[in-house]
Amino acid sequence: MPASSNETKSKIATGPNAPGVPKTDPIIIADNVTRHFGGLMAVDVEHLEIQRGIITALIGPNGAGKTTLFNLLSGFDSPNSGKWSFDGTALAGIPSFKVSQMGQVRTFQLTKALSMLSVLENMKLGAKGQSGERLWSSILPWTWRKQDDEIEAKAMDLLARFKLDTKADDFAASLSGGQRKLLEMARALMSDPSLIMLDEPMAGVNPALTESLLEHIVDLKKHGMSVLFVEHDMQMVSHIADWVVVMAEGKVVAEGPPSAVMKDPAVIDAYLGSHQGTDLGVVTGRIDLPDLSKSKGSK
């Protein structure tokens, strides 16, 4: 186990690696959040904190309630009970667009690129506080032209970073699946969020693009953002995440640094046993691959 990983761990949690362990600087705190659909309890989280400034992965098998929790945290769904807050502000009853304005921006599992808008228009839509988006000033172009040019410049910068600048004037519909994922991420960055929540950013992306997607996610942290992402491929998670939260059947069953979580028997039981794919290779070189032969053997 490399030393860096232990250092990170000591900075993140204030206690032993157990579900609900308090963090040193949490950006999201959830308490007793439950959501049921009919008789099915989709989410039942007693306590969860997400640390600021790191990459946190939310993993778990299909149907574990990851996306539902995501929807609850981002205001797209309301829980049946519980309290949760973002950056110290309680979020109960706050509509999703306000949550987003507070600096918590999300993406979706099924990419929501706005197909019939150009790539550049998609990007510009992401910017916050545009005076031209108000009805009365919208018909007076001189009130928003300058700001719109600034937004466009920023959008082009970001597009260049995501290697989409040559596609700026194309309809988003003409992009490939992976490029749409990139566009969605870039669009979310237009608002300078403090927390970016990515719902399965790697789903349906071809392997060549996966690598650059992972790099971009790591990059987000370098730019000072907190990242929370849903993924069910543990291998990919272990490359880039500083902290892993494992859900199963609506509950948080384990959390900790990737290496520790992967050794947790509860996690192996609930999840890992059936989900070992091939490795993509070390992308960031930051964390050594954990030795999985033992867990394989224990199965």
Binding site: N71, F76, G93, S96, F97
Partner: protein, 448 residues
């Protein structure tokens, strides 16, 4: 469902406020048109004046109400202690003058005259009056002893309830069809209205145009409806689904189809109303029990509706295809994955839905009574209201919603003008969407 319950909490207050304002303004509007009570109305405003004295056995009657209306003008007046009244009217023309009998003392009515100038209605006795050479005209009613033949309220209430149930049941036939089609295909299908008309027009074609007996004509009309449902799915809806048209596109196609069919009916049967063959013995009301009066047609119609609805319920609950239909309703891709032939079930639903609509058209043609090219269209919004009230896409919700809408429509005229009896149903639709968009029996997750 992810759509913003948060928004709702934000807008709830303004929404309620708005509704309160709406209700208040309606109330104000009704106040504004209520009459000023006086023995002289508008006599200083207009030159032409009707007047009269209301007396019974030479005793003047005070507080008797009279209504004057005609030529876009209406006024009310109440007699003074001498039994005198005067009303000014704007034009030298014919007006209807009505003495409101309920304001006469008990046991006193307006005596019918030999020439039959007086018409007795629920409101009272009405005469037509016209000015002669002068600007004044006196109008007097002859009062006599007698009992007003006004149906007691309880009788009218029971009559309306029975009518409402009957109407609600036939509405349910059409609504369940629409709801099943919506549940399995996701399309709110506007041309369902024309399937209602088709049933009635079919019965008309076989039994009036060809002159065959009605007991052959109606089954043939239903077979025609079934064929129409089958052909529609084969020729239009299934190919378009395969073509990848969106739900909204399909809905608009159904609107175009509805328009085309409706005017096609008008092309063939014209713009008027025609009747199905009936027999006075079967349409006259019989005393059933206490204040309940039903005709044989009413009873047969209700019996048919109940039996057919029970059969549909049995089919949905206990047969394999019925269960498959409900499964597709809940989750189409899951059903397809678990081996249900979705296309086959959808076609069956089209046939069944069209037959049910056709049957409701035939029954409604007796209830209205009459067949008209746009009769189904008149029913469509009530069908939508019933289906939304019960829960869009739920078959049993459609049944409950239809009964409630049927009762509402038939009970409205007891208190309000009969020409707005459909309005209540449409207002219910909006209120349901505001407070319980999933409907009475719908699941909350469906609407988002």
């Amino acid at each position: 469902m992810v759509t913003a319950q948060g928004f709702w909490s934000l807008i709830k207050r303004p929404a309620l406020l708005l509704f309160a304002m709406l209700v208040a303004s309606l109330a104000l509007a009704s106040l504004a048109i209520s009459p000023a009570h006086a023995d002289e109305t508008n006599t200083d405003k207009y030159d032409y004046i009707f007047s009269g004295n209301v007396k019974y056995n030479d005793e003047p009657l005070e507080g008797v109400q009279l209504l004057v209306d005609g030529n876009g003008y209406s006024a009310e007046v109440v007699t003074d202690e001498k039994g005198h009244w005067e009303v000014g009217v704007p034009e030298k023309a014919k007006y209807n003058i009505t003495l409101v009998e309920s304001t006469l003392p008990k046991g006193v009515i307006v005596a019918p005259d030999e020439e039959g100038r007086i018409t007795i209605s629920e409101k009272g006795a009405t005469v037509e009056a016209e000015f002669g050479l002068t600007k004044d005209k006196s109008v007097n009613f002859f009062l006599g002893e007698g009992v007003r033949k006004v149906t007691p309220f309880i009788d009218r209430l029971m009559g309306s309830i029975m009518n409402g149930l009957n109407f609600g049941l036939m509405l349910a036939l059409a609504s369940i069809g629409l709801s099943l089609i919506y549940g399995t295909t996701g399309i709110a299908i506007f041309s369902h209205a024309e399937m209602v008309t088709l049933g009635a027009v079919g019965a008309f074609f076989f039994s009036v145009f060809l002159g065959w007996p009605i007991w052959i004509g109606i089954p043939l009309a239903l077979i025609l409806s079934a064929a129409a449902g089958y052909t529609q799915d084969m020729a239009i809806w299934r190919p378009l689904r395969k073509r990848g048209l969106s739900i909204v596109q399909l809905m608009i196609v159904s609107i175009g189809f509805s328009l085309a069919l409706r005017y096609l009916f008008q092309f063939f049967i014209g713009g008027g109303t025609t009747l199905l063959p009936t027999n006075p013995d079967t349409t006259s009301k019989l005393n059933i029990l206490g204040p309940i009066h039903l005709s044989i047609v009413d009873m047969v119609s209700m019996a048919i509706s109940i039996v057919v609805l029970a059969a549909v319920a049995f089919w949905l609950l206990y047969t394999r295809t019925g269960k498959a239909t409900r499964a597709i309703n809940d989750n189409e891709s899951l059903s397809a994955a678990s081996g249900i032939d979705v296309d086959k079930v959808v076609r069956l639903v089209w046939v069944l839905g069209s037959v049910l609509a056709g049957l409701s058209g035939v029954l409604w043609a007796y209830f209205r009574p009459g067949i008209k090219w746009d009769m189904g269209w008149q029913l469509l919004l009530l069908i939508f209201a019933a289906v939304v009230l019960g829960g869009l896409g739920t078959a049993f919700g459609a049944l409950v919603g239809s009964i409630i809408i049927g009762l509402l429509v038939e009970l409205t005229p007891l208190w309000l003008s009969a020409d707005i009896k459909y309005v209540g149903a449409l207002v219910v639709l909006i209120v349901v969407l505001l407070f319980r968009p999933q409907g009475l029996l719908g699941k909350k997750e469906r609407v988002g």
